[in-house]
Amino acid sequence: MQAAKLLDLNPEAVRAYAEAYEGFSFVARDLRREEHPAWLRANYLAIAASYWSAVDLERGRKCFEMACKAALEQAHQSPPETASTDHPRGQMLWELRAASMAACARIPDPLQNLASRWGEQTRVLSPSALMLALVTAGQLVFNGDHETVTGILRHLMHSAHALEHHPAGNLQLPLGLFFELIEQAISTQIGGESRGSDRDARFRAVRDWTFQFSHRLSERVAVAQSNRNHWHRLYSKLLPLEPEAICALLIWARTLRRTARNTQEIRSLSSDLSPTMQAYLETVKDVLLDEDQSSRRGQNLEG
């Protein structure tokens, strides 16, 4: 609810559109004479999930889960070889989208199954697909066995170094911004617990990235919001809560937790951010809260 207001959306209207798009993804096939393709279902469900995330986080999660399944179904239907040097294979693009939705839905399996295969396929990745690969595989950096993922991520970034300034994804943010985020996550995880000036330097780097990302995100959303009809009726290519940005901010939040001195430091940083970024953080906080609860349950079992 808070997220919708921060994004200048009427929560009741958002709920109406979320219900309409989610429901329509199931019934659209009844209106069409030909088969209802999985990509269309994934499309409607992703739109609904984005809207749900602004008003009802649990329904957003469930909708992302359904969107992930539809995207995977589409990936398996896509011709395996539609590659050119400019465009990724259809199958892989849908796998990437599925994985980003899985990250938003807090379901780890598709991420783990898919990420290990991406390392060898970077030659055919477009900047947008590469960004999706980074922010989805980046979710696994903080898992127990992070060495393989770190290797894949470094390989992805190394092979795409020349694309650093290229805009990527629906947010059209430069790829370099995502490289920076991944580097910070990796160095935090590999470096482990740090103290003193080392930690201060890492925290400053995370803080600088935060303001840069927040500024860029707000700019992109402000452009979409300037057309009120688009923003309210969902004709904009930019969803109110883009899965790719949720994924990036999940990595950011985990990195921040490991670099900040205390919760006061995190709070002071968060309070200076733009309303758009705050809206995204509403969703991210919920995912992390769920993660914390799972981890506590795990610890209790061990104890």
Binding site: A16, F26, L31, L93, G169, N229
Partner: protein
């Protein structure tokens, strides 16, 4: 010429009003509803490309020609939808916008009111023909209408002056909140009422240009 099927959502009309339009005067433009009888000599003067672009992209802004508060109040055009496909280069794919969902959202003012969806067809040429009121404009077709249209995903086919009764097959009344509740339950919205145009509707399939031999 192509018979293009279209949907038209209208907010707040009752079943008797919808029936009267279906079997009577059809769907008329706002200009006709304000000025009756329409001055025939003014029709070609008002059917211009500039006015059409105002109808598409500046509907709520003042009309510099007539001086009316909004262009929409006195528009000679009638918006309908046939759905649209949008290119998404960032994701290397195309997205489809449903004509039904667009018409339903319009008819019910974003699922808040009651309204009606008309089902019918208009004649299009596959070329611009702005001044000819008997042909609609396929403004969603970017190979013909190359100007940037902010509302392109609405999939607009713009009719002119009137969509006559023989072009209208039926009209369905919807309650916005009920339609929303049905969709929320993953079911198709059910119309509150349906009116079929059994008196005047001419199915376009009967008009296709196939001549039978005399036997």
């Amino acid at each position: 010429m192509i018979f293009q099927k279209v949907l038209k959502g209208i907010i707040g009309i009752s079943q008797p009003q919808a029936r009267a339009m279906l079997i009577g005067g059809g769907i008329t433009c706002n200009w006709w509803r304000k000025v009756n009888l329409l001055p025939a000599n003014e029709i070609p003067v008002r059917l211009t490309q500039d006015n059409l672009l105002r109808h598409l992209s500046a509907y709520d802004q003042p009309d510099p020609i007539t001086g009316s508060a909004t262009f929409g109040e006195m528009t000679p055009f009638i918006s309908t939808t046939a759905g649209a496909v949008e290119r998404d280069p960032a994701n290397a794919q195309n997205w489809q916008f449903s004509a039904f969902l667009t018409a339903l959202a319009f008819a019910t003012d974003s699922f808040r009111q009651q309204g009606a969806i008309f089902y019918g067809y208009v004649n299009v040429l596959g070329k611009k023909s702005v001044v000819m009121d008997e042909f609609a404009e396929e403004t969603r077709e970017l190979n013909i209408w190359t100007e940037f249209q902010p509302y392109h995903p609405e999939g607009e086919i713009v009719a002119k002056i009137q969509i006559p009764s023989p072009h209208l097959e039926k009209v369905e009344g919807y309650d916005g909140p009920s339609a929303r509740a049905r969709l929320n339950a993953h079911k198709l919205p059910v119309p509150l009422w349906i009116e079929q145009n059994t008196s005047h509707y001419v199915p376009p399939e009967e008009l296709s240009n196939v001549r039978e031999v005399l036997l």
